[in-house]
């Protein structure tokens, strides 16, 4: 792995840690979701610092070069994250619909619409 890629990976992981910590400090993301992003940052950091851990895996998995495997891993992780978000949105939608229904019924009852 080239030195440039190592530096890029380390910089990206540090930026990810800084951003996550910032959002956590601002109260924009809850702790349980921040853990996921810290885990992402840690993986990127490990790939940058100890590329040899991954060098013996990528050929066995059928990747031509190490960078392809890194991209592959992250696309995979993002797909999982996306699915988790889809499920979360569907659950939130159900809750929002229920709240709108209950609130509208209460409001209409209060205003003697039925």
């Amino acid at each position: 792995m080239s030195l440039n890629l190592v530096i890029t990976l380390i910089v990206v992981s540090i930026l990810l840690i800084l951003f996550t910590t910032h959002f956590l400090k601002e109260g924009k993301i809850p702790v349980k979701y921040s853990l996921l992003w810290y885990a992402f940052a840690l993986i990127i950091f490990l790939v940058g610092i100890f590329p040899q851990i991954f060098t013996f895996i990528y050929k066995k998995l059928g990747f031509e070069v190490m960078s392809n495997m890194i991209i592959g891993i992250f696309i995979g992780l993002l797909i999982i994250l996306n699915m988790a978000l889809c499920i979360m949105i569907a659950e939130q939608k159900k809750k929002t619909i229920m709240l709108i229904q209950e609130l509208s019924t209460l409001k209409s009852k209060e205003n003697k619409k039925f």
Binding site: K93, I97, I100, Q101, L103, S104, T105, K107, S108, K113, F114
Partner: protein, 240 residues
């Protein structure tokens, strides 16, 4: 005597809602029936709310548009909370004829069915039956329905339907937001409830815009078929 509630979802139905409501009230007077009505104003942007208030029509005004599924479910929740024996979905656009309500609720009152669908296609009555392409779509959905539930339902997208107390309770807890008619039918059948169809006549829309527009028909059909396949693989608790 069974208490019957007519649930009328309405979105931008200023042109028809009063006429629909009056037709039910007139029918009640003429035939000594006591059908109650609840209109669910699904966040209409026109004068529907004003018409409902000015004419003292019982209604629930949703603070945000939820779509047909969310609106109808609000009606089922109302029916459940007020202990109705039968709930009938009834369109606010003048498509459904109140004279057929008796025919639709009859199998439920007699205990012969848990859900009854008012069908345009089971008898060859010469009335409005929707466009040719939409009828092909309904036929394809019907084939998927048979595959999913093992039962043949001819008019899978009919919104003119009656439900028993047990189904009211089920629907008040869970009701799909999208494509509710075919999906709820398939789910109810999979749970082991009895669904029957009775022949009804329907009128063409007198105003407003249908929730299924022509250019969306193919997309609608694909989604419904996929949703029915998902009903096939899901596990449901049997009712009996």
């Amino acid at each position: 005597m069974s208490r019957v509630l007519l649930i009328i979802p309405a979105y931008n139905e200023e042109a028809n809602i009063l006429k629909t409501y009056k037709s039910i009230i007139d029918y009640n007077k003429k035939n000594k029936e006591t059908y109650d009505v609840i209109v669910i104003n699904d966040g209409s942007k026109d004068n529907t709310e004003k018409i409902l208030c000015d004419n003292n029509i019982p209604h629930i005004c949703l603070i945000h548009n939820l779509g047909i599924g969310g609106a109808v479910q609000t009606g089922y929740k109302y029916a459940f909370e007020h202990g109705y024996d039968v709930a009938v979905q009834f369109d606010g656009d003048g498509q459904h004829d109140v004279r057929y309500v008796k025919k639709i609720i009859s199998p439920i009152i007699k205990g012969q069915a848990d859900m009854v669908i008012g069908s345009r296609f089971i008898e060859d009555i010469d009335t409005f039956k929707s466009s040719f392409t939409r009828r092909i779509g309904i036929k394809i959905i019907s084939i998927f329905m048979k595959f999913t539930s093992g039962f043949k339902i001819v008019d899978t997208t009919s919104g003119f339907r009656a439900c028993s107390k047990k189904i009211i309770s089920e629907f008040s807890l869970s009701y799909p937001c999208e494509y509710p008619e075919p999906i709820t039918t398939a789910e109810v059948l999979k749970k082991g409830y009895v669904v029957s169809e009775v022949s009804v006549e329907m009128n063409e829309r007198e105003g407003g815009v249908s929730s299924i527009r022509a250019w969306k028909s193919v997309y609608y059909m694909l989604n419904v078929c996929l949703a029915l396949l998902s009903v096939k693989i899901r596990r449901y608790k049997k009712c009996r």
